[in-house]
Symmetry: C2
Subunit: 225 residues, 2 copies
């Protein structure tokens, strides 16, 4: 499948790399490809720059958000929550219309330090904001509840864990569930419509505290039943 991954950070790299490895035709979307490739310093978290990763993944394209979105039959939003709506506007409603949009973003507000708070929650969610802003897009919220590497290689944990899907379009959720299964996910729970993204986005506060208590991001929720 032709897939556009919007965002060049750790989540975007993890998704783009894994999708390409699985045989998909992947293009990564960014604001300004030249500027993205021009950065040679590690990011604020000490991760190597996108350019270093891209050299190791020559089959993956890099294009402005709108071109990437136009090329993709399916689009992944792997941008940070604070930029999500602006990035999707740049991608363009016309380029997204009718397509499945996998939304991995979380509404984390780090402006007051750690732990971050959520800039939307409880009575609304970022997933719903995206769906309302782009009513023609078939939004599926998923993968926002675990580490980027585990999103695409869940079997690395050594025991089964759970991911969730939320969305208004059953066919879109089925498409996304197949993709998740191709990553290795064997326990995908359909929570219901896009408003159930409130629940998974509100998992982030305990996820962040768990990362502190366990001193690793290498864990995931399993729903035992």
């Amino acid at each position: 499948m032709k897939i556009a991954v919007l965002g060049t950070g750790m989540v975007g790299q993890a998704l783009a790399g894994r999708l390409s490895e699985l045989g998909h035709d992947v293009v990564v979307g960014t604001r300004d490809p030249e500027a993205t490739l021009g950065r040679t310093e590690p990011d604020g978290m000490g991760n190597p720059p996108f350019s270093a990763w891209h050299q190791q993944h020559p089959a993956i394209g890099l294009a402005p958000f709108a071109d990437a979105a136009a090329a993709g039959e399916l689009v992944v939003n792997a941008t940070g929550g604070t930029t999500t709506l602006s990035v999707l506007e740049q991608a363009g409603a016309d380029n997204l219309a009718g397509k499945v949009l996998i939304d991995i973003s979380n509404p984390l507000d780090f402006s007051n330090g750690f732990p971050p708070t959520l800039f939307v929650k409880d009575t609304d969610s970022l997933g719903e904001q995206v769906q309302r802003a782009f009513p023609e897009v078939r939004v599926v919220k998923t993968l926002n509840t675990l580490n980027a590497n585990l999103m695409v290689r869940p079997k690395d944990l050594g025991a089964e864990s759970t991911v969730f899907v939320s969305g208004d379009d059953a066919t879109a959720k089925a498409t996304v569930t197949e993709l998740l299964q191709s990553f290795g996910h064997t326990d995908v729970i359909d929570l219901g419509d896009i408003s159930t993204a409130r629940g998974t986005e509100m998992l982030l506060p305990v996820w962040l505290r768990l990362m502190g208590a366990l001193e690793t991001p290498f864990f995931n929720f399993k729903i035992v039943r």
Copy 2:
């Protein structure tokens, strides 16, 4: 140990019954014992009245909140979130001072129907509100993330799952962890100070959606790592 369980609902009954079974000297606290025993109709959820349960547990005492709190060496808050602070006031700061308080309550607001919203969240929690209102009490937030029956009989799930403790007092958390282990919990994660209760209280929205999707409250989170 002498243990007071404040609250006569399903959570209070589950805790009181199990603690008594394990050999503790248990007294249940309620606003007005005569009125509580006088109710012979099932509650709004169709559960049998407290009086029916109490007849089957004659070793367990029933007393006004203040008398129960005074008698307990350890106190369990098994009341609903909306009444928690008022019940603890009735229990009395002097009767609670210096004691470990296991806080199971959740800040659920059902006034706008289902799903409920949280009346405190993200930048504060009910656990913190309790700790601030009763600074002499050693509050440990725990067990608020699973069904009442599974709180006290986690092995009924058939596979290991996780419970969390949050609190400022390490000795209190150790006492509570021992009690949790006596129930059958084998994976107790210490998240940190009482502010980490924000994370576990914010698990409720996804818990409620999971109950809907799975059509059962008989599940729990396991942190796979």
